[in-house]
């Protein structure tokens, strides 16, 4: 409203305090990112229950569900596999993606809702640009989700699941990328969906549909045989590509389509999350009482 005067009235340099000497320099950005990651790690360490439940959930699938289906569902030779594989081997990549999706959703939703709404506000009053704060947040939750994935892989290996040696390393870039994608997806959902205030609702309406309508639990060619419609849905589901990216990388095989889809989705979801939390355009402004 005072466009004519404001720019000229602002001092050219910062004051003697505040951002003047610990301001938005490159090292300042690094400190901020490190701080966000350090806090996430501390919370992770302090909330052992959350860590355990994040591990138990996929283990239940692996140990009980996969054992039950072991004899029913043999998986024939299909890329990236070179031999017949056991069903328990087939589901591991899907469970890795599930771990990351759960963690991404949980981490984003817990920031916005419940008593933790305050933490989002504390983050957003930082002088750093909002996109940077949100990307820092995503990076932090991605790192934790990758650590959880490796913890699960160790347990799966101890359980007797056959994981190729080289796969332990080649799966890392895939997990980093899918960690970003699923975390950003969680962040977008957390900003848009007001009704899903409890995690059970998110499980029923978001996580399970995406999980079941994907290649996580069954090969897509089998889905196609039983339901062409579901097959199409699975092909449109970005979660399918996160699973396939992990599956192929685990066998040190390059899957350009999965990589491309995950990459594009990561960019779209991250941009959408930044937009959603933009003070000018975001939906926060239409929420009276947000933050109280």
């Amino acid at each position: 409203m005072s466009a004519g005067t404001s720019a000229a009235a602002e001092p050219a340099t910062l004051g003697t305090r505040g951002a003047g000497h610990h301001g938005l320099t490159l090292s300042g950005y690094a400190i901020c990112l490190r701080g966000v990651m350090w806090r996430e790690a501390l919370r992770f360490i302090h909330q052992r229950g959350r860590f355990l439940s994040a591990l138990v959930r996929p283990l239940v699938w692996l140990v009980i569900f996969a054992a039950g289906w072991r004899e029913v569902l043999g998986v024939s030779i299909m890329p990236p596999y070179h031999t017949y594989i056991l069903y328990s081997t087939y589901v591991v990549p899907g469970l890795l993606a599930m771990i990351q999706f759960f963690y991404g959703m949980q981490s984003s939703l817990s920031m916005v809702y419940d008593r933790e709404m305050g933490n989002m506000r504390v983050l957003l009053v930082s002088p750093f640009p909002r996109w940077f704060l949100l990307v820092s947040r995503l990076t932090a939750s991605m790192v934790i989700s990758v650590i959880q994935c490796y913890a699960f892989m160790v347990l799966a290996w101890l359980w007797g699941v056959d994981l190729p040696n080289g796969g332990w390393i080649t799966v890392l870039p895939a997990l980093i990328l899918s960690g970003f994608m699923l975390g950003a997806m969680g962040m977008v959902l957390s900003s848009l969906i007001r009704q899903l205030e409890n995690f059970a609702g998110v499980m029923n309406f978001v996580i399970f549909p995406l999980f079941f309508a994907s290649s996580a639990l069954y090969p897509l060619w089998q889905v196609q045989q039983s339901s062409p419609l579901l097959y199409q849905v699975c092909l449109l589901n970005p979660f399918t590509y996160a699973v396939e990216l992990a599956r192929f990388s685990l066998y040190s095989t390059f899957n350009p389509l999965a990589l491309a889809v995950v990459l594009v989705c990561t960019i779209i979801f991250t941009a959408a999350a930044i937009l959603a939390y933009d003070p000018a355009r975001g939906l926060m402004a239409r929420r009276p009482g947000a933050g109280t």
């Binding site: 409203m1 005072s2 404001s6 720019a7 009235a9 602002e10 001092p11 910062l14 004051g15 305090r17 505040g18 951002a19 610990h22 301001g23 938005l24 320099t25 090292s27 300042g28 950005y29 400190i31 901020c32 490190r34 701080g35 966000v36 350090w38 806090r39 501390l42 919370r43 302090h46 909330q47 008593r115 709404m117 305050g118 933490n119 506000r121 504390v122 983050l123 957003l124 009053v125 930082s126 002088p127 750093f128 640009p129 704060l133 003070p279 000018a280 926060m284 402004a285 239409r286 929420r287 009276p288 009482g289 947000a290 933050g291 109280t292």
Partner: protein, 269 residues
């Protein structure tokens, strides 16, 4: 620098100096509902201004705009001369915030909460530790630095939040109903500490409240009611202008609403 419609605040101390916090002609609506209507106020450098209003007056909305949770669509807000919309980084670096809701990370220690905040302001580790320690001493909680925030009382948490808001040495401290839900003793401790900090550190303070007993005779008061500024000036000027005997009566005369009596508000609102 004062905007129009700002009776009483154009005192000589403000003349020729950019206020620490300036709100000019700000309006905000949630859909159809108007939460703020052409609100203007200014906090001089090192000054203490009480924003007095009942629940629903628009105080929290104003804080959301000052802290840039929402964009200011109508009007202008600046901190130390930095426009919050055009120079958000510079403005937020000069701003310390104590939100109405509890915002400490309960699983972290008191010190880790402060260090996290320092990192969000890009402050290096060594400086952050020194500042965190000093800030905790200012609120007399240095001995609780290693305790989990969860173990603190409500009043202690608030004081930690105040310490946290000062770690990056802002020029302006804004507090949204900081004493809500606290007992009388904790409340008094917080009011006294913030006033002392304002004096010793020269921090400008915007203190939002609905409690008259937190306002002292020499304070600047801005009366906000249903999104509008009804009066602004020194407490005595407001009382005199309304022809009432005290601030309580003046508030009633201005708004047509009664201020809650102090003894009924302990459970917060």
């Amino acid at each position: 620098m004062d905007g129009p419609g700002l009776p009483g605040l154009s005192t000589s101390s403000l003349a020729g100096e950019t206020p620490a916090l300036s709100v000019e002609g700000v309006s905000h609506a949630y859909g159809e509902r108007r939460a703020l209507d052409d609100v203007s106020l200014a906090v001089p450098r090192g000054g203490f201004v009480a924003l007095l209003g009942l629940n629903g007056a628009g105080k929290t909305t104003l804080f959301s705009l000052i802290t840039r949770l929402f964009d200011t669509r109508r009007g202008r807000i600046s901190v130390q001369g930095f426009d919050i919309s055009r120079r958000p980084g510079a403005a937020l670096a000069e701003l310390g915030v104590v939100f109405q809701s509890r915002t400490l990370d309960l699983d972290l220690t008191v010190r880790d909460n402060l260090l996290y905040h320092a990192a969000l302001h890009g402050m290096g580790r060594r400086l952050a530790r020194a500042r965190a320690e000093a800030a905790l001493e200012d609120v007399a909680l240095a001995d609780r630095a290693r305790d989990k925030a969860r173990r603190l009382s409500g009043g202690q948490m608030r004081r930690v939040e105040i310490a946290r808001a000062l770690v990056h040495e802002p020029s302006v401290l804004v507090l949204d109903e900081p004493t809500v839900g606290l007992d009388v003793a904790s409340k008094a401790a917080i009011v006294d500490q913030v006033r002392a900090l304002s004096r010793t550190r020269g921090v400008a303070v915007l203190w939002a409240t609905h409690l008259l007993d937190e306002i002292e005779p020499g304070d600047h008061v801005v009366v906000l009611h249903l999104g509008k500024v009804l009066a602004a000036g020194e407490m005595s000027e407001i009382i005199a202008a309304s022809g009432a005997a005290d601030l309580r009566a003046a508030f009633r005369a201005l708004t047509g609403a009664a201020v809650p009596a102090p003894e009924t508000v302990e459970e917060g609102g």
